[in-house]
């Protein structure tokens, strides 16, 4: 199968590219390299079944041409800067909503009928049902990121209904693992690399968060497109557990052998739009036979190992 992957040089995208290539698919990667990393595509670049386009999703003509012949679109490109929505509210609209519209229009032009979309548990805002199922009460958006992803979901639904596309929408918890490039493990690592004796934490450290290992995330997506066949297929993706930010800090510090003094910005949210509790009900995807292989602690440890090694490698290259 020929698969078109947006955000192909990103954290989850590049892992997906490698997985698809290793299972015999041909892959067209698309990335504007705004946050993508050339080094994540090093192995793919040597693969005969891989083509890469450095271009922007807001450039519709290029996008449509690059998509020619694709049977499946995996749309991962996004502004994933959840925390900074209020600094540039147009960015989420452009990169998450309008970019998705462009992808859907290109699919219509090219006759491509199936789309995988990386949505987010943030579309649930601050739910009052835990674990939160896909069918929870109609939520209120608490972040620009969530709002822009919800808008993209709606567009995908409408294209499926109006133009006969088939949509696979995945509402992720935070994803961890190799090639992870931003988020709390990264921020904590950077702080500790600069000043190992001190760690500043946004919020009170008691925010309850869920995480999923990137390879488990990819396995879930591949399971769903193989086994679900509705017009619009929506799946939560996460483990069945959560941890507090303080737990994650303890695992990271233990791994690094550090005992920093912790200070907290306070409050039960780290920033405007932060969610104090994320725990998704993933029984829908589990019913298809998928299970995560790593728990949250293992995923955090895999991530801090990668981040440390990657930082060392990048430093050596400089």
């Amino acid at each position: 199968m020929r698969v078109f992957v947006t955000g192909a040089a990103g954290f989850i995208g590049s892992n997906m590219v490698d997985r698809l290539l290793s299972t015999g698919h041909s892959v067209v990667g698309f990335d504007n390299m705004s946050t993508g990393q050339q080094r994540f595509l090093q192995s793919a670049a040597n693969h005969p079944q891989f083509i890469f386009h450095k271009a922007d999703l807001l450039d519709r003509k290029n996008l449509s041409q690059a998509m020619e012949g694709a049977e499946l679109v995996v749309h991962f490109a996004a502004n994933a800067d959840v925390r900074f929505g209020t600094d540039h509210p147009r960015k989420d609209l452009d990169q998450n909503t309008i970019a998705t519209w462009n992808v859907l229009e290109a699919m219509r032009e090219q006759g491509c009928k199936r789309i995988v979309f990386s949505s987010t548990g943030s579309v649930y805002g601050e739910p009052n049902v835990f674990p939160t199922p896909e069918t929870c009460p109609f939520p209120i958006q608490t972040s620009f990121y969530g709002a822009s992803k919800l808008a993209a979901e709606g567009l995908i639904h409408a294209y499926c209904e109006g133009f006969g596309l088939q949509g696979y929408i995945f509402r992720f918890v935070s994803i961890l693992g190799e090639r992870y490039t931003h988020g709390h493990v990264f921020d904590f690592y950077q702080q500790l690399a600069e000043h190992p004796e001190h760690l500043h934490v946004l919020g009170n450290g008691h925010q309850k968060k869920s995480y999923l290992y990137v390879q488990d995330c990819i396995a879930a997506i591949l399971t769903a497109i193989d086994r679900a066949d509705g017009r619009v297929n929506i799946f939560n993706l996460g483990t069945d557990e959560y941890c507090e930010v303080n737990d994650s800090i303890a695992w990271i510090c233990e791994h690094l052998g550090l005992h920093p003094k912790l200070t907290y910005s306070g409050g039960d949210r780290g920033w405007v739009g932060d969610s104090p509790f994320i725990l998704l009900d993933c029984s829908r995807i589990r019913a298809l036979g998928w299970r995560p292989r790593l728990g949250i602690r293992e995923a955090v440890l895999a991530t801090i190992k990668f981040v440390s090694a990657d930082a060392a490698a990048v430093k050596t290259e400089l």
Copy 2:
């Protein structure tokens, strides 16, 4: 209070303008006149507290300047062509989603803190709870119109959360009454004016629809902004009844004294994205003391009276 009304020359907008002026408010009307009608603002135009800007919401500079000094924004401007979403999917994105983003950005620039937004019961897609409450299960979008309005709702939520705005979101059933310019009563009237002996109906005529009289709609909005004070206030607006398309046809034909032969396109939906059953649970707005004055039959009759008289008046002018 100085109120900024978008879509001021439209059906609901011009009725709102008149109501606001008659209750002592000053009004700045904004409309690109793409579907607005000059004649709906005839009485407002003579009022000393009314200013009108003919401009487009996609022109952000003009929009922001026009909004200066407004304490409340009533954002009604929209592409309301529910049926033709698949003909031009960009139109809903531009006129409903991006235009709303522009309104919110202008509010931020001008320090205006309160917004009333005309959303739609279409955001519920095809629910399986009737009557459908605001908190029904997270829906799937079945129309470009619904998807674009949902996206706008999410943006409003995020602006309320991120920038301290206060939002009033109203999910309307179809609105009927004086100055009504499009929809099934209009389509049926036009057909019958052309060929009184024959009426063609989209779908099987058994679609169950809800309608609300425009003055009841406006009264509900004014009640809500007076009595609700949450950050994001969401209200369904409708009556507690529904009718079949065939009922509406019978009332219209009786009023016109016609007995046309009915033909049906068939199926339980009139078009892609049409909803076979709309009935909203409006107990939330009723709990604030609001009640509709007209039932669906009276609203249909008020509308066919207006449409007939208006067509006659327009004809006389030509």
